[in-house]
Symmetry: C2
Subunit: 232 residues, 2 copies
DNA sequence: CCAAAAGTGTTATCGCTACACCCATGA
DNA sequence: TCATGGGTGTAGCGATAACACTTTTGG
């Protein structure tokens, strides 16, 4: 009863179409990738767009984002964070649609690339990505900035590397995120000075003839590092 | 014609109630304040809440936030930024309501305190704020963190001071934002080292018997300062 | 033997932290 | 004259940026 009673309070208010759009970056030793698809329906048919669709009335926003990503690409177990809510009346043609954006950066080899292809989605090289529909370009800009700031401030990104990895691999990762080159001496010094990488006795000989020492990631030390808050 | 045609694409999708909630901080030499009001209707009647209401189908989200703030408090010319979209199905009782939050920090003396009171809203001391309804406490936490990070990284906050101000005033401002004390020598050094404060020949004798030198804010120098990006 | 990538050290500068005393004045 | 808040300096440390050569080894 009280349920029905309460519901009546807002019955005269206007409802709005709500969508989620997912900005998914992928990385795997090589170049940074971005997950896109070509519009199958609507006024923008054939143009490139992010992965997105409408949110149901009875699902949490976060759930909606997961569902849409899964339905459109088959991707599962992707931990997305909310980015921004795009809400101008005329942001898309024809209808008033609110879009809440979610973003993530995943390790490609942990996910099913086949199913993405079967669903008609594509991993494109971030650096050479095509123009996108509506305000989706803006969404991508905002998302990459968030990723960068996360990588900078919280040293995120080690989840993106194999269990054992080399310093040049880490550097390559950061260079892809920033689309910029760094000095390897300074980079090595900085990364090692944080104190959460453990040098192993093995070498990885994939990347070069000489071979590079492998390191592993000390989660405990990393937590200590993160908790030092950097105050004014 | 094409308008009608396009509109039909999404006609079967579910629409959702969308609200905005405004987290408005106020400052004016004294203590940091937060703008609240007591619920006049609904299941939470009489409890403290942020300023919020529903978004119309034909208004931009940003416009909606401005309108709601104006209607509920009479406040005008408040430049709010978007904070986060709260979207769990059961975040409020009875109805499914999406809430997009907006936040701002304003200088109290630039705004009409009377009209706020007449509208039934209140400025409460941030440090002693009451419990709020629903997820509004969470919203406030998130907002103050954003304000802090803005003040830290972009030296925002000089808009909040008079044209001419003293160093102790600036320090007081930061101490209110962080709810924490700082060493005055280090604070002074840091703030002055940025190079965008100009020392004047006048003293302000309000705050103390000795009087403190007044400074003004060099917008040009500040822009240079902001543009230096702090890369990895 | 050589191309290609890994690895290494120093210097100068800068910003941060911690810390204790004198100054000017109005009441 | 004294209580109040304004104002100052330094030493040590850690982080940053710029910079060039040696090592290893598979082909």
């Amino acid at each position: 009863m009280s349920q029905t009673y309460i519901k009546s309070y807002f019955s005269h208010e206007e409802k709005i179409l709500v969508a989620v759009d997912c900005i998914i970056f992928g990385f795997d030793e090589g170049e940074l990738k971005l997950l896109l698809m070509k519009k199958q329906i609507g006024s923008q048919i054939g143009k490139w767009s992010l992965i997105g669709s409408f949110v149901k009335e009875n699902e949490d926003l976060d759930e909606g984002a997961k569902r849409v990503l899964k339905e459109s690409t088959g991707l599962d177990d992707v931990f997305m964070d909310q980015l921004y809510c795009y809400g101008d009346v005329d942001r898309v043609f024809g209808d008033r649609v609110l879009s809440i954006t979610y973003y993530a950066l995943i390790r490609l080899c942990n996910h099913n690339l086949e199913s993405v292809k079967e669903h008609g989605a594509e991993w494109v090289t971030f650096h050479d990505r095509p123009e996108l529909i509506f305000d989706h370009n803006d969404m991508v800009e905002r998302a990459i900035e968030k990723i960068r700031s996360k990588a900078r401030n919280h040293a995120h990104g080690f989840e993106l590397l194999p269990e054992k990895f080399t310093i040049p691999q880490v550097q390559h990762f950061f260079e892809e995120i920033y689309q910029e080159k760094f000095d390897k001496r300074n980079f090595r010094k900085k990364i090692l000075s944080q104190g959460f990488l453990i040098k192993l006795d093995e070498k990885d000989k994939e990347g070069s003839k000489k071979g590079a020492f492998l390191y592993s990631f000390d989660k405990l030390k990393f937590k200590e590092f993160k908790n030092r808050k950097m105050i004014f």
